[in-house]
């Protein structure tokens, strides 16, 4: 299946992927209204230090430890895409304890978790972070 891959050599550390992610998950169709003057909670996060930067988001592992560890059954793999059922999640953070990539994080109010769910249901057919990356440092490919 297609997954998100990053090439840190191409990453500019511009954080646009974080804004595109936050916008894609805001439910709004106006980027300014969705993001202006708010602290964003993107599901993709940039790590940066001394000129090195790269984006981290869910790897959609073939053997997902988060799904196996989820105490409620809220995390499930559907055709390889790992998604969280916010209605079932109780915010115990067992998935945060087990994800080797640190790619699952508390949602806005902390009561449930959030993660990249590969938002491909848009005009481009690829996740918003990939679409928004100005330097092709994030790609959506079959490998």
């Amino acid at each position: 299946m297609k997954r998100i891959y990053v090439n840190e050599k191409w990453c500019l550390g511009c954080h646009l992927c974080e804004y595109y992610c936050a916008f894609a998950n805001s439910g709004s169709d106006d980027m300014v209204k969705a993001l202006k003057d708010i602290r964003i909670h993107p599901r993709i996060r940039i790590e940066e230090k001394q000129g090195i930067s790269f984006a981290v988001s869910c790897r959609h592992c073939a053997e997902p430890l988060c799904v196996k560890s989820c105490i409620t059954g809220a995390l499930r793999a559907d055709n390889g895409v790992i998604a969280v059922d916010k209605n079932k999640c109780v915010g115990c953070y067992t998935c945060i304890m087990i994800c080797p990539y640190g790619a699952i994080m508390p949602g806005v109010d902390g009561s449930v978790v959030q993660k990249c769910e590969l938002c491909t249901n848009n005009a481009f057919g690829e996740p918003a972070c990939v679409q928004g990356c100005p330097n092709r440092a994030i790609v959506f490919e079959e490998r």
């Binding site: 790590e47 998935c95 304890m97 080797p100």
Partner: protein, 412 residues
């Protein structure tokens, strides 16, 4: 092939999903004393709190047994296992033949003898859905609840009921709360937080004698209560397995494939022991992720596939009144400790490996630490000083990151 699973919780589900990843056709039978569709036991405190309900606490969808071709015999207890004839004998007289058998029997509350306990009319365990339902039906705004045991079960119960009752008091023999997962300093932070919510603790103390609704503590304190919750400890359910000659220590002994010493018999979850790689010892690791992964390993092995479970460690993620705690591994080694307000971090290393950690408050990306323990990552192969600051992939080499994030093949 006839697979039979005794038990119907996380280990059983892991086993079913493991079997079905290899064998789509074999007959699977699940037998459970409890009459319910598989549900998540740790959610019973959230049920009372009101954060979930019986429908949402189902661990798998309503169609789970049907989707997986499982015959679910629920609400019926197993009398014994006839290993020679490869049959499970049920209390209702039925017999269920098996080719491969999994014990996923879990654990049961352990109640030590206490003087006068018989006089206490309203006493409860807090392990199963039925326990939660019975307790919930007895709670009212005037209830004074006494909980024996300041471990995970007792304290999650305290959190679940606190807003529904007049008073919650917790008594424990140990001098600190959550002694199995926290050190002294971490324990104190969490205790203070829980006390601020209104829970009262009597630690390094115990009940010398019950007189009806009064508990006389060892130090002379007399506590009046209406309801008593017994959360002192749990014991693995090993009787059926021991009855057919499975080797049992504290739990049923298993190898890396979750096989017992008897051919065709497996065990997984809270009833069994697994090898804790942080101390290299067989231990009961009574936690849900472990149960699932053991069950899955057993299932794949039972169906003829190849799977080992060799990364078992103690690990817990738990929150109390909004304060999150994540712990993993063991704490014998060189400690690095940072305390800032209610945030607490302890990392313990030994022999060039991370052996354990405690995070309280800020638990972001804790899994990166857990992974160092589970994968036995040599600390000199990463920037340990950097990762001590916070969990981050920056601490790995660029080549390792290319594998983790860039889809490169592992160079090893």
């Amino acid at each position: 092939m006839n697979y039979v699973i005794i038990g119907n919780s996380a280990a059983a589900v892991g086993c079913i999903e493991g079997i079905r990843s290899v064998d789509p056709d074999g007959a699977i039978t699940v037998i459970s004393k409890e009459p319910y569709h598989v549900y998540s036991r740790p959610l019973i405190s959230y049920l009372i709190y009101g954060k979930t309900d019986e429908q949402r606490m189902k661990y798998r969808p309503d169609s789970f047994y049907e989707d997986n071709g499982v015959k679910a015999m629920l609400g019926v207890a197993v009398e014994k296992v006839d290993y020679t004839k490869r049959r499970v004998l049920l209390e209702n007289g039925e017999q269920v033949p098996f080719d491969k058998l999994l014990f996923a029997t879990g654990s049961a509350p352990f109640v030590p003898p206490m003087a006068g306990l018989d006089e206490v009319k309203k006493k409860f365990s807090f392990m199963k859905l039925d326990d939660a339902k019975v307790l919930q039906s007895e709670l009212n705004p005037e209830s004074r609840v006494l909980i024996l045991g300041a471990g995970l079960i007792g304290l999650k119960c305290a959190e679940g009921i606190l807003r529904k009752v007049k008073k919650v008091t917790v008594v424990d023999l140990a001098p600190r709360i959550l002694p199995s997962i926290l050190d002294e300093e971490g324990s104190e932070i969490v205790r203070k937080h829980i006390e601020e919510q209104g829970v009262q603790f009597y630690l390094a103390n115990s009940v010398a004698q019950f007189h009806k609704n009064t508990a006389c503590l060892k130090d002379g304190t007399e506590l009046e209560f209406d309801l008593l919750v017994l959360a002192v400890g749990v014991r693995p359910e090993t009787k059926l397995a021991a009855g057919i000659g499975c080797k049992v220590n504290r739990g049923i002994l298993t190898d890396a494939h979750c096989a017992t010493n008897l051919p065709d018999v497996y065990a997984a979850g809270d009833c069994s022991e697994s090898l804790d790689i942080t101390v290299n010892q067989q231990r009961v690791l009574a936690l849900l992720p472990n149960a699932y992964m053991q069950g899955e390993t057993a299932g794949i092995t039972m169906a003829g596939g190849e799977k080992s479970y060799n990364k078992a460690i103690p690990m817990n993620a738990v929150g109390f009144f909004g304060l999150h705690i994540v712990t993993a591994g063991s704490y014998d080694g060189e400690a690095y400790v940072v305390k800032e307000g209610s945030n607490y971090k302890k990392m313990v290393s030994k022999d060039n490996l991370l052996k354990g950690y405690i995070l309280i408050g800020d638990v972001a990306r804790a899994g990166i630490y857990t992974s160092l323990i589970r994968e036995r990552t040599p600390l000199d192969s990463i920037d340990y000083e950097l990762i001590k600051e916070k969990p981050q992939l920056m601490a790995f080499t660029a080549a390792e990151r290319a594998v983790k994030l860039g889809g490169a093949r592992n160079e090893n």
